[in-house]
């Protein structure tokens, strides 16, 4: 027997479609909309600050939600769902970095390795502070940006950050302290505290 062609599959009636998607996805549309409204803005901010690239942040955001929906995690609390979402996002950031590093070896410098980073034009209010943070973040390593954001913007505990990033708990603490120190020094204009 031949498999159902896509055209047939796409013309399933509404009820069948809804049932099919419910089987495939972790949540229904209404729950997804509520979850998205709650999480998309901070998630985008995380992806943007960690990658420095607004376009990439948007791509990764969509991929993160797709994988979240497909993963069909067991029923979980809001906090667990959020952790799960951030774990997917962090893995995607790591995969992206690996691919980019791979390209650096196969492409001449200045092509694929070109800086795709861009800024989101800061609005007048708090603009200079954001510009400073943006330029300070550019001097940090990607992993440092991630763990700093998870710790101080998202308020994750160290143990949770270790879980999200796959860094050993024992290594995370010194890593985080060094990153914090480094960022604070850059923000203070390089003066040693």
């Amino acid at each position: 027997m031949r498999a159902m062609p896509i055209s047939k599959c796409e013309t399933l009636d509404g009820v069948e479609k809804a049932q099919e998607i419910e089987r495939v996805f972790a949540m229904d549309e209404a729950s997804f909309r509520a979850f998205y409204a709650q999480t998309a803005r901070p998630l985008w901010a995380y992806l943007f600050r960690a990658s420095g690239d607004p376009t990439l942040a948007e791509d990764l955001l969509q991929e993160t939600y797709y994988r979240f929906l497909r993963a069909r995690p067991d029923p979980m609390s809001d906090a667990h769902r959020k952790n799960y979402l951030y774990r997917i996002a962090t893995n995607l950031l790591t995969d992206h970095r690996r691919r980019e590093r791979g390209k650096e070896f196969t492409n001449p410098p200045g092509e694929a390795g070109a800086d795709r980073s861009a800024t989101i034009e800061p609005r007048a209010e708090g603009g200079s502070e954001r510009t400073e943070l943006e330029s300070a973040f550019k001097q940090m390593k990607a992993r440092e940006r991630e763990i700093l954001w998870l710790a101080y913007a998202e308020g994750y505990k160290h143990e949770e950050i270790a879980e999200l990033t796959g860094i050993k708990a024992a290594s995370l603490r010194p890593l985080l302290f060094r990153a914090r120190r480094k960022l604070a020094e850059i923000l203070r204009g390089g003066s040693k505290a």
Binding site: M1, R2, A3, M4, P5, I6, C9, E10, E20, I21, V24, F25, E29, F32, R33, Y36, A37, A40, R41, P42, W44, A45, F48, R49, P54, E58, L61, Q62, Y65, Y66, L69, R70, I120, P122, R123, E125, G126, E129, R130, L133, L148, W149, A151, Y152, A153, G155, K157, H158, R173, P174, F177, R178, R180, R181, L183, A184, L187, A193
Partner: protein, 165 residues
Amino acid sequence: MKMHCEKEEEVIRARAEGLLADNGEPASEGGAALREHVAACPICQEALFLAELFERDQRALGAQAPLPEADLVWWKAQLRARREAVRRAEAPVVFAEKAAWVTGALSAAGLAAWQWPAIRGWLALIASAPILGPHSEPLAALFVAGLVSTLVLAGVSLYLIWSEK
């Protein structure tokens, strides 16, 4: 300067919960103790400085984020999930088709090996006689069988090509 303070996580959590806010209200017992600690701890001060800075940044970025609509994300995910489901469903069929071709080829080779003397005789006959002689019944049968299997194979191939489209 020491690198690490045991209370840092607690301080960050308390701040997120509003326990450290200096809003003129009397602080809870835990809040007051933490405030006192922060006042004397440069590590926690630094952590709080970053937490406040990041919070402002996060809020400003969130307000400007070029986010796709939830409906669009949902719709794209649906479409992609369905495409992947179809691809997964088709995978065994594609495998079965390949397996059928391999089995068919092996059977034909086996048949040829088993019937090799007849085939050799037939070839010899064709080679020696331009016109079929009186003892040509097996040859004729073989010829017909070959023709039939060629036609069957051609039909199956056409069906497969058509059904792929």
